[in-house]
């Protein structure tokens, strides 16, 4: 069954605009009457993903599909890729630059936060080609 679909472009050159996709989606979900807990989890997971795309991948594209029982988010970038996904998933592991850390990110919490706030999460990445993150949150 096809659901509601939204696409967001993430600008990799502007750190201050990270969060626009998650804020926009949050408003849409609120207008649709989705429960606050689900909205919060979607917003946090998507914002962390946006930050990662800005920090590591020079932006990318986010596709969201919502059906009556689930919200699927696909975050795709053409950045440098993740050499060791298992290592990247460990809390505290980060390759972010000092400039990013000075803004309050890059503490190695992004991917763990995304996993914690979603019901399913899968990462496909090829070094030099890019990364795609698939996240699902069940509504019911």
């Amino acid at each position: 069954m096809s659901g509601l679909k939204w696409t967001f472009e993430v600008d990799g050159n502007d750190f201050t605009r990270a969060g626009e996709a998650s804020s926009s989606l949050k408003k849409k979900l609120r207008a649709l009457g989705v429960s606050p807990d689900i909205i919060r989890r979607v917003s946090i997971a998507l914002y962390e993903g946006e930050i990662n795309m800005v920090i590591h991948a020079n932006g990318g594209t986010i596709d969201v599909e919502m059906t009556p029982d689930r919200i699927d988010m696909v975050l795709k970038d053409t950045g440098k890729g993740i050499p060791d996904i298992e290592q990247a998933m460990q809390a505290g592991w980060s390759t972010a630059a000092d400039e990013v850390r000075s803004l309050g990110f890059g503490a190695g919490m992004g991917l763990p936060n995304m996993k914690k706030n979603t019901d399913e999460m899968r990462i496909e990445s090829t070094v030099g080609v890019g990364t795609t993150v698939y996240m699902t949150i069940y509504i019911s």
Partner: protein, 112 residues
Amino acid sequence: MTPVEFADKYGLRVIETGCGEERQIEGAYCGDLLSMVMGRAKENDAFVTVMANVNTIAVAVLADVACVILCEGIHFDEMSLSRARQQEVCVLESDEPTFRIALRLGKELGLC
């Protein structure tokens, strides 16, 4: 207690009122690592920090906290305040350190 009531009682500056006259502070979270704040702060917490950039406001919105309290006399820039106005985020400022503000919140919340 609302954020504005907290500010009035303890002499904090209300920089942006946002929804600070309606929402109730139900808890508090102190932190400057925004990913940690986003993952751990709860809805209607007072978010106490010294991290003053536009991403602080974004995290406050997404975590749905009751207010942001910026400590140590640090100020937000105009871009951050503009974002706070757009998103109706209550922003308070204090010259006191984070620990002192945390103690005051703890007292009001009956935690100490």
